[in-house]
């Protein structure tokens, strides 16, 4: 086992297949994580409400509440919780739905153990990056907008609203690289930590949502500019 700086992180594993869950629990524990195994959606939500976790691994086809429902409920209570969906469902609709509901990553069964462990570590690393960078300066202002990256509460003029965790991460990533072009691929790899062919549409959806929140005229953006066939660029404005 390599030196894992995230040892001791608490993981909730929601999986109804006993044989798979036992193997996953063994490997995650071997990596130094503390694992709770929930056999169905009801138990997973109960564990989530009563205990603290650093990451959630959710199967989609779970009894009582499916993985989508759990992700949705988790997101309303804990917008920053990293969620990995681990499922036999491979359709791009399922992937897009999972990611839009707030899953941070999506892996299909059967999977490679090493890849799974790397992705988990990547998610914990991103959570750490987000947490530490937010602690330094939780509120960011541009134009008439103010974004609190800690609780995702935003103000745009007199309008007040809340971002989802994913929206906040995309915005934060763009802001940290202001003045530079960020490609969709880069966003996928560093914010979603995935590299598949289907999700560019998801990125564009997120950008268009962010523009609706913060741009005075979303059709002619001044802060989040689209660079044809290259990606997006955050410009602080005047």
């Amino acid at each position: 086992m390599e030196n894992n700086s995230f040892k001791g992180s608490k993981i909730l594993l929601a999986e109804d297949e006993e044989t798979l869950a036992v193997g996953l629990e063994y490997n995650l524990t071997d990596e130094g994580y503390i694992v709770d195994w929930a056999k169905d959606g009801k138990q997973a939500l109960h564990f989530f409400e009563t205990r603290n976790y650093d990451l959630l691994i959710l199967d989609i086809m779970l009894p009582y509440f499916d993985g989508f429902e759990i992700a949705k409920q988790v997101r309303t209570k804990s917008p920053q919780m990293p969620i990995l969906m681990l499922t036999a469902r491979t359709s791009s609709e399922d992937k897009v739905r999972g990611l839009e509901l707030g899953a941070d990553d999506y892996m299909t069964k059967p999977f490679h153990l090493e890849e799974l462990l790397l992705r988990i570590r990547g998610m914990l690393k991103r959570k750490h990056w987000y947490k530490t960078s937010v602690e330094l300066s939780p509120v960011y202002r541009f134009g008439k907008n103010a974004v609190n990256f800690e609780n995702f509460k935003c103000k745009s003029g007199s309008k007040e609203f809340e971002l989802t965790q994913r929206e906040a991460m995309v915005l934060k990533y763009l802001i940290e690289r202001k003045g530079k072009i960020v490609s969709r691929k880069e966003l996928l790899e560093n914010v979603w930590h995935i590299s598949t062919e289907v999700e560019t549409r998801t990125i564009d959806n997120f950008i268009s949502r962010l523009r609706k929140y913060f741009e005075p005229d979303p059709d002619n953006p001044v802060y989040i500019k689209g660079i044809r066939s290259a990606g997006y660029e955050f410009v602080e404005g005047k």
Binding site: L20, G23, N27, L62, K109, F111, L113, E114
Partner: protein, 341 residues
């Protein structure tokens, strides 16, 4: 979603086509009637010969027949198309369920193999992992053979091994066999009543039916499994009822549960595994025995009862039951002669 839309377009196209045909039929009748009236009024005074010959009733009738025929053809084509779409939908369901059922044990086996090859696993854990892999391979084996058996069943290629048994004895023995397979405690399955009559069954096939029924009770009972097996009879048939205290079935779903690839979506379901083939398989097997299977449930949370009706030997469906025995005897003869060679 796309399929739902295409069905909607189909229905709209169909309704428009119907309206067009009806309008054409109306026009056709209107044209004939007005022409006929003109001939009546004008033709007779001008030329009596013309008035008699011109409004040809035969053409009018043929026109209507033709249009009605096209209409019927359209209805049939539409019906066929909707059935096809329903089948494709069910097939997609099946593929989704089967891929889940195949991928889950496969992922687990892959996980254990990768764990064993990359990590130093203690001996006792290794043993546990091998046991888990064996469970998964058994599950895969069962799933694959059930898919293959279904196809055999549909082509009626299964050589059933029908024999005469005492219903009381064989049913209790087979139910007990299924209960042991699911490691149900002795108190979980209780017997009630009696059916001391002879019946003709293929024990392996009936075992599959009982396995499926008990597996369903097991899967859909949130708490302890509690199954009451009631045996009874009338003059012609024996009845076997499996009553459980599981989550029950909504009345509107009860008709569909024996359909192929059908799985009922229910948020209260404590288990989501399955291919949607088990009850279809059970129904087909019982049908082959000359019997019938039905389901009854007062609704969600009120338990389920599956009722199997089998003909009593030499009392009901004699010709059919004897043909099953003859087929078995014939098969046995063929097997014996091939063994002798």
């Amino acid at each position: 979603m796309k399929r739902k839309h295409s069905l909607l377009y189909l229905i709209i196209a169909f309704v428009f086509a119907q309206l067009a045909w009806l309008a054409l039929l109306g026009l056709w009748i209107y044209w004939y009637v007005t022409n006929y009236l003109i001939f009546e009024q004008v033709g007779n005074p001008l030329s009596p010969q013309l008035a008699i010959d011109s409004p040809n009733v035969l053409i009018f009738v043929l026109g209507i027949i033709l249009m009605v025929a096209i209409e019927i053809a359209m209805v049939l084509a539409f019906r066929n198309l909707t059935v096809q779409m329903k089948l494709t939908n069910l097939y997609d369901n099946f593929i989704g369920n089967v891929s889940h059922e195949l991928k889950s044990p496969l992922s687990s086996i892959q996980l254990y193999l990768e764990t064993l090859s990359t990590k130093e696993v203690p001996i006792e854990k290794q043993k546990e992992f091998y046991d888990m892999m064996k469970r998964d391979t058994d599950r895969l084996k069962k799933l694959i053979s059930s898919i293959l058996e279904i196809s055999k069943l549909e082509q009626k290629r299964i050589a059933y091994d029908y024999h005469i048994y005492n219903a009381n004895d064989i049913i209790k023995e087979l139910v007990q066999g299924s209960a042991n397979q699911f490691r149900l405690s002795s108190g979980s399955v209780r017997f009630e009543g009696s059916a001391d009559y002879k019946c003709v069954i293929d024990r392996e096939a009936i075992q599959i039916v009982f396995d499926n029924l008990l597996s369903n009770s097991f899967k859909y009972s949130p708490k302890e499994v509690d199954i009451n097996v009631k045996l009874s009879h009338n003059q012609k048939n024996i009845f076997i009822e499996f009553c459980d205290k599981g989550i029950g079935i909504h009345p509107k779903d009860q008709k569909r549960i024996f359909d192929k690839f059908q799985r009922i979506a229910n948020a209260n379901v404590p288990n989501v595994k399955g291919t949607g083939l088990g009850l279809y398989w059970a129904r087909e097997i019982i049908k082959f025995h000359g019997g019938k299977i039905s389901v009854f449930s007062l609704g969600i949370g009120k338990g389920t009862t599956f009722r199997i009706k089998l003909p009593i030997y030499k009392t009901s469906r004699n010709i059919y039951v004897n043909s099953l025995l003859r087929r078995t005897a014939k098969n046995q003869k063929i097997l014996e002669s091939s063994d002798g060679e």
